[in-house]
Amino acid sequence: MIHSLFLINCSGDIFLEKHWKSVVSQSVCDYFFEAQEKAIDVENVPPVISTPHHYLISIYRDKIFFVSVIQTEVPPLFVIEFLHRVADTFQDYFGECSETAIKDNVVIVYELLEEMLDNGFPLATESNILKELIKPPTILRSVVNSITGSSNVGDTLPTGQLSNIPWRRAGVKYTNNEAYFDVIEEIDAIIDKSGSTVFAEIQGVIDSCIKLSGMPDLSLSFMNPRLLDDVSFHPCIRFKRWESERVLSFIPPDGNFRLISYRVSSQNLVAIPVYVKHMISFKENSSSGRFDVTIGPKQNMGKTVEGVVMTVHMPKAVLNMNLTATQGSYTFDPVTKVLTWDVGKITPQKLPNLKGIVNLQSGAPKPEENPSLNIQFKIQQLAISGLKVNRLDMYGEKYKPFKGVKYITKAGKFQVITGREY
């Protein structure tokens, strides 16, 4: 399936290559560079490129292109999903998936790639298994290794590899047994000029951090499971149990993982926690415009809206902006034309406002469309959909674990359109 993998940085250097079958020359990447040039912007590089003898399937993650070389028919999502898994693994091992991290740990990277893929077919992709085969680098271990000459490589087959719970390693031991669940919900919304909602949806995930000894069998139930409309599961979850009882029953992997991601049924009206008042105008035949934006809280169930950041991609004709913010600070990058306003926490008594003059390129025509405002915010201790964890039970082990649930609501793709009228 996957023949070779090239890692390419933003300046077009191939800094790592790995071949699982016979060697494919680096020159195959020229086709990729060609496509990259054509696409102008990295986002637009087509993920699948056809060359005379090979097919290139690539992903772009953390300023690195992962370009895989394929020779025969394969489901493209298979490769894409796998490449992302590789990037996730690097992230997991080195804390970041950057060029320097990969270069610094090139041997581990190679060992990982060797384990993850055999003859181009995925072999072990579960992080729990990989970590048993190849120990992640830590400062302590590297010191110990250099002294004792021991290695990072495990010499026995991880038990998970053979069982039907490949996601969990055996013999886990903790002195403090803890299980944390973060219910994180993101609001995707498009708000139109008059402030009414064109489209809103809540997407949520439950990220877990489970540090429990032995082989715990957990079941997590919700107060209102019917809210969850469409759910995707970590492989550990027993589907049948969810189907029949709406209970998440699973033997968790060790460590951090995403338990489920879900979408809240679209029938429910989404409460939008902030509102935005805006006045953006460009005068015809004049080199200036006005900009006035106020953000305020709305229906936030007594919780404060914090971490508010507004980013605006201003039209190309904008030269500079002279603004004053009543709260927080703003920056405008004249090259990318991006205005960023870091507001912080919103207090209902004093609404944050950003107001001022927009300088346009003289002679340029008036921008056709008003920019749309992308808003980010965070509300702690609240799941906007109203989803509530009812209880967590543990079977199979005797100790009493410490359990914790945290709720966060965030803005996802939250867009306020200032130019569109409905």
Binding site: I80, V107, G149, V198, F199, S232, P235, K240
Partner: protein, 1049 residues
């Protein structure tokens, strides 16, 4: 190295001087001499580089020769770094290959990495390493065996093909599924190295396809797809197994298996799309898009009533939960399976999951949107509810935007068009001009597809003509041209407007479009047309080729309609064209001149010139670019590229008549083995449990409210019903007994399967019982006689699962007396009543427990009596049961017969589930499988799982411990031996079929490695004691334990 240090030294020196220079404030003077040194160094750079390179390699060689592992490891790490950067490290081959036998596992691994990269280039030297791998293939550590096989098969040296073949064959029957998985991978490698080996490899594939490990399934199917995708016949027997294993296979394997099964199903089942009600259900638009061929097929099949093959249903049902997978590739694979295989009314369930994937990263979005685009052309209804999910965001990359736009256009209909058009209006204003242009195209398509809005769209587009951006205007012109062509009647005004635009527009396509329009409808704008020709004639030489051609045809058309005004102009243009650089234009000019300008040579054609030029032209169809993609299987690379990729496997059309479904039937014995395998597995992993499967754990007392209870109840009912229908169909299609039996496989979870097995074996049990009493010698092989009819009619009110066991038992009972029949029927009734509970473990409720005990008690006398007919295996059950302690003997008997109602009666809460299965493996070998309580398990860690000896052959390999012992005379009877061994080692009894051989089996709790013990009684009171086990240590310990037991009294 030396060079290195001197350079370093210099740098340090330089920086020191700089520092001191700063201190002294005399920067210029001090720096100068050193700058020259720097320059010199730069000049020598190339030379030094080479020097450095060689010395580095020399250095590495020395390190590899060193006796210290740490030095070797360091060297290997640096070499791997070189390989990673794509630098050539091949000259180190001899030095590296020496270390292949290193004891240090990390060095070894890195050497493997090196070998895989360079062995192909240095084949002779690579042969040096082969013996090491061969030795490692026999290593007791499965990881080492597996990695040796991996490297051996990865080094691509043709000369070792026979060795590889041998290694693969051996590994394919290895005890460790991990090694077998690697063997499956090696098959593909060997095949690509030497396709000659195909036949042999197919044999191995066939063998591995039979493997029941979920670990192997994905890899072997991958090998199958690569080596022999046309050998569909290999799949038949494994089809149901693969369907059932699917949820537990790892995600990558799932994708491959699903794709393969899609292909398989298209050759084996008849189309579910052609039924009458389907036509009603379908959208009227769908018919419009359907190809002629499909229509024909529909006509042909319309008379037959369609019943779905139960195996077809099985596949659809077992793949559905995978829509919930976190892996986008799995979701997509299921989606395409439903698209290609499911009845049209059911395919809709995939859309929600596909829409969910749109939240993922851009690459996934791109592929998913492409597939949705193809789907939405054919079946709009599927995605209509999710219209808003396809709204474009300003932050989306252009390629995503265009795809979303495409889908929105496909989904447009009378109801939503107004909303869509408003949405489109904002897209047109987008700063991304490429996208704006695409939007205009989309508006054009909506206008042609939905006649109600044609005028609105046209007006909107005309407004866009005054847009400031040229690309927008140009695109609008092109689209308007197409639209006007569809209804040219009253658009003179628009044409005039566009004629005016000609002065400003520079985009060639737009100019050409305007010229064409004016030419085509020149009679409607008689005053403007000649003027336009005049203007363009003036600029002819500067125009693009595209525009020149249109000027020529405008001239020709005007010449024909209005020759008085334009004759000269046209001739001028023709003259210009005659000497144009492009031969295309010269050609066209010559052609037009001959056609329109009358001369003596012009033939009959010129009479028809007007008809030729001004013929009514059909309006162009504004079509989706995804229209022609549907002949590729969705989710494939070929579909994404819209061209056949190498190795693309065509999805065949549905057969008109389904091939014999009986080919998928598996022998009973085999299916029984399967049960045990599954049970064994469940056992092994307990309490860890399986992916997606139903809980076999303790009942969750607190969580299950009565509400959920009732819900799940209704669900199971539904399932029952479903099965009922499939049962009926299988009966009507005269399929044999097993097909209905293995229908119970179709339960989605292992637990269900397990209980299904229990149920089945229940029937078997009764069958045997009946046989024992009536003394009829009936082979257990299933006969297809439909003698069950009388039975079935007598027991009608029960659930479907009952009726199935009816049919089973009915067959064997045909020869028994009516009295017995009554009794067994009664047994069966109660038993199957229990089955219902067992079936739906989730519904299991403490309330039901009291029911079980009384029935059991009532039945016990007759059953114990019946048990006596079972002789050996029966008593061994009692033995092993009693050895478990805890419970009264009678109850164990009972439970063994009525299929372990045991957990219900006494351990309802804390039991996982205990199961005891009897089913004939062959003539007289019975399989006994017992899963045990968790509590018991902890207290007796030695051995637990009792498994059958069917796999004996596999174990008589390397890990055999045997001893000849003297047996005490009182121990020579079989019952005593069994009792002793069971007491000593808690092993499971496996009937051997021979009086002098006793077999026992077990699995260790921790590693789950299989253990087989055979006691063979010989003459003169000696016995051969053979222990086969994966763990040799345990084997010898066990031998030591058992020896005294048997030899002493």
């Amino acid at each position: 190295m030396e060079q290195n240090s001197t350079i370093l030294g210099k740098i340090i020196e330089v920086s020191c001087t700089i520092k001191s220079a700063f201190k002294g404030g005399n920067l210029e003077v001090t720096l100068k001499p050193y700058v020259s040194v720097e320059e010199k160094r730069l000049a020598d750079d190339d030379y030094e580089y080479m020097e450095q390179y060689f010395s580095l390699n020399e250095d590495l060689k020395q390190m590899l020769e060193s006796s210290k592992d740490s030095a070797k490891l360091d060297a290997m790490k640096r070499i791997v770094g070189m390989i990673a950067k794509g630098k050539n490290a091949s000259e180190l081959f001899p030095a590296v290959v020496k270390n292949v036998a290193s004891k240090n596992i990390e060095i070894k691994k890195l050497v493997y990495v090196y070998l895989m990269r360079y062995a192909e280039e240095q084949q002779d030297l690579a042969l040096l390493s082969i013996s090491t791998f061969q030795r490692a293939l026999k290593d007791p550590n499965q990881l080492i065996r597996a990695s040796a096989l991996r490297v051996l098969s990865s080094i691509r040296v043709p000369i070792i093909v026979p060795i590889m073949m041998l290694a693969i064959k051996e590994a394919s029957s290895d005890l460790s599924p991990y090694v077998r998985k690697n063997a499956a991978h090696a098959i593909q490698k060997l095949y690509s190295l030497d396709p000659e080996q195909k036949e042999m490899l197919i044999e191995v594939i066939e063998k591995l396809l039979k493997d029941r490990s979920t670990l192997v399934a994905g890899s072997v199917v991958m090998a199958f797809e690569e080596v022999c995708p046309d050998r569909i016949d290999l799949i038949h027997k494994n089809y149901r197994k693969l369907c059932n294993l699917l949820v537990d296979v790892e995600e990558w394997g799932q994708v491959v298996i699903i794709h393969m099964l899609t292909r398989y199903a298209r050759t084996q089942f008849i189309s579910p799309w052609k039924t009458d009600d389907d036509i009603v259900e379908e959208h009227s638009e769908n018919n419009f898009y359907e190809s002629d061929e499909e229509q024909k097929e529909k006509d042909r099949n319309v008379k037959k009533t369609y019943t779905m093959d139960p195996d077809h249903r099985l596949l659809l049902r077992n793949t559905k939960p995978l829509l919930q997978s976190r892996n986008a590739a799995v979701v997509m694979a299921v989606a395409q399976l439903y698209w290609h295989l499911a009845p049209k009314s059911e395919a809709g369930i995939v859309s929600k999951s596909l829409v969910r994937l749109l939240r993922s990263n851009r690459e996934v979005q791109y592929i998913v949107l492409q597939n949705i685009a193809t789907m939405s052309i054919q079946r709009k209804g599927m995605f209509e509810p999710y219209l808003k999910s396809f709204y474009v965001r300003s932050t989306d990359p252009t390629m995503i935007k265009t795809l979303k736009l495409e889908i929105l256009t496909n989904l447009a209909n009378e109801a939503n068009i107004s909303t869509l058009l408003r949405e489109f209006q904002t897209y047109v204003k987008s700063q991304d001009k490429q996208f704006a242009a695409a939007t205009i195209q989309a508006i054009g398509r909506c206008a042609t597809n939905i006649t109600e809005v044609t005028d609105t769209c046209l007006n909107g587009l005309v407004c866009l003509l005054s847009n400031r951006d040229e690309t927008v205007v140009a695109e609008s012109v092109v689209v308007i041209k197409k639209l006007l062509q569809t209804q040219p009647a009253h658009h003179g005004e628009i044409i005039k407007h566009m004629a005016k635009l000609l002065d400003n527009i520079t985009v060639p396509v737009a100019r050409a479009s305007i010229l064409w329009l004016i030419g085509e409808y020149c009679e409607r704008v008689p005053k403007i047309a000649p003027d336009v020709l005049r203007k363009t004639a003036k600029s002819f030489t500067n125009e693009d080729d595209l525009v020149k051609l249109q000027i020529l045809s405008l001239g020709a058309k005007l010449y024909l309609t209005n020759s008085k005004q334009t004759k000269l102009l046209t001739q001028y243009v023709l003259n210009l064209g005659k000497y144009d650089q492009s031969y295309d234009i010269r050609d066209r000019t010559r052609f037009i001149r001959q056609l329109i300008v009358p001369n003596e040579k012009s033939g009959a054609l010129s009479k028809y010139a007007k008809k030729i030029f001004l013929a009514q032209k059909p309006a162009p169809l504004l079509e989706s670019p995804f229209k022609d993609r549907d002949h590729f299987q969705l989710g494939t690379l070929s579909h994404t590229l819209n061209s056949r990729a190498t190795g693309y496997l065509e999805l065949s059309d549905w057969p008109d008549v389904a091939p014999d479904p009986a080919v998928r039937n598996v022998e009973v014995a085999e299916s029984a083995k399967e049960w045990t395998a599954i049970l064994g597995k469940t056992k092994k992993e307990k309490p860890t449990e399986k992916f997606y499967s139903e809980s076999e754990e303790e009942e969750d007392e607190s969580a299950s409210t009565s509400a959920t209870e009732s819900e799940s109840g209704s669900e199971s009912e539904k399932e029952d019903k479903e099965e009922g229908s499939s049962d009926e169909s299988s009966a009507s299609s005269s399929s044999s007994e097993e097909s209905s039996d293995s229908e119970s496989d179709s339960k989605e979870s292992i637990a269900k399967k397990a209980s299904g097995a229990v149920k089945e074996s229940n029937a078997e049990e009764i069958k045997r019982k009946a046989k024992g009493i009536s003394k009829t010698r009936n082979t257990s092989s299933s006969s297809d006689t439909a003698s069950s009819s009388s039975e079935e009619s007598s027991s009608d009110s029960k659930s479907v699962s009952d009726s199935r066991s009816d049919s089973d038992s009915g067959k064997s009972r045909s020869a028994t007396s009516s009295k017995k029949e009554e009794k067994t029927a009664q047994d069966r009734k109660t038993a199957s009543k229990q089955d219902v509970f067992l079936l739906d473990l989730d519904d299991f409720h403490p309330v039901t427990t009291p029911v079980a005990v009384p029935t059991a008690a009532v039945l016990s006398p007759s059953l114990t009596a019946d048990l006596e007919g079972l002789s050996l295996s029966g008593s061994s059950v009692i033995d092993s049961a009693s050895s478990l302690g805890d419970l009264p003997l009678s109850q164990w008997v009972l439970t063994s017969v009525i299929l372990l109602r045991l957990p219900v009666s006494s351990y309802a809460r804390r039991m996982i589930i205990s199961m005891l299965t009897f089913s004939p493996l062959s003539e007289n070998c019975f399989c006994l499988s017992l899963c045990q309580r968790k509590t018991l398990r902890r207290s007796k860690p030695a051995s637990l799982l009792y498994t059958c000896s069917a796999t004996q052959g596999m174990l008589t390999g390397m890990n055999e411990t045997s001893a000849t012992i003297a047996v005490a005379p009182q121990n020579s009877t079989s019952l005593v031996i069994i009792e002793k061994v069971v007491k000593a080692a808690n092993l499971g009894v496996v009937p051997s079929g021979q009086d002098n051989i006793h077999r026992f089996a077990a699995k260790t709790v921790h590693s789950g490695s299989l253990m087989l013990v055979t006691v063979e009684l010989k003459e003169s009171s000696t016995a051969q004691l053979i222990i086969n086990t994966e763990k040799t240590v345990i084997g010898s310990v066990l031998l030591r334990e058992l020896k005294p037991v048997l030899s002493q009294g």
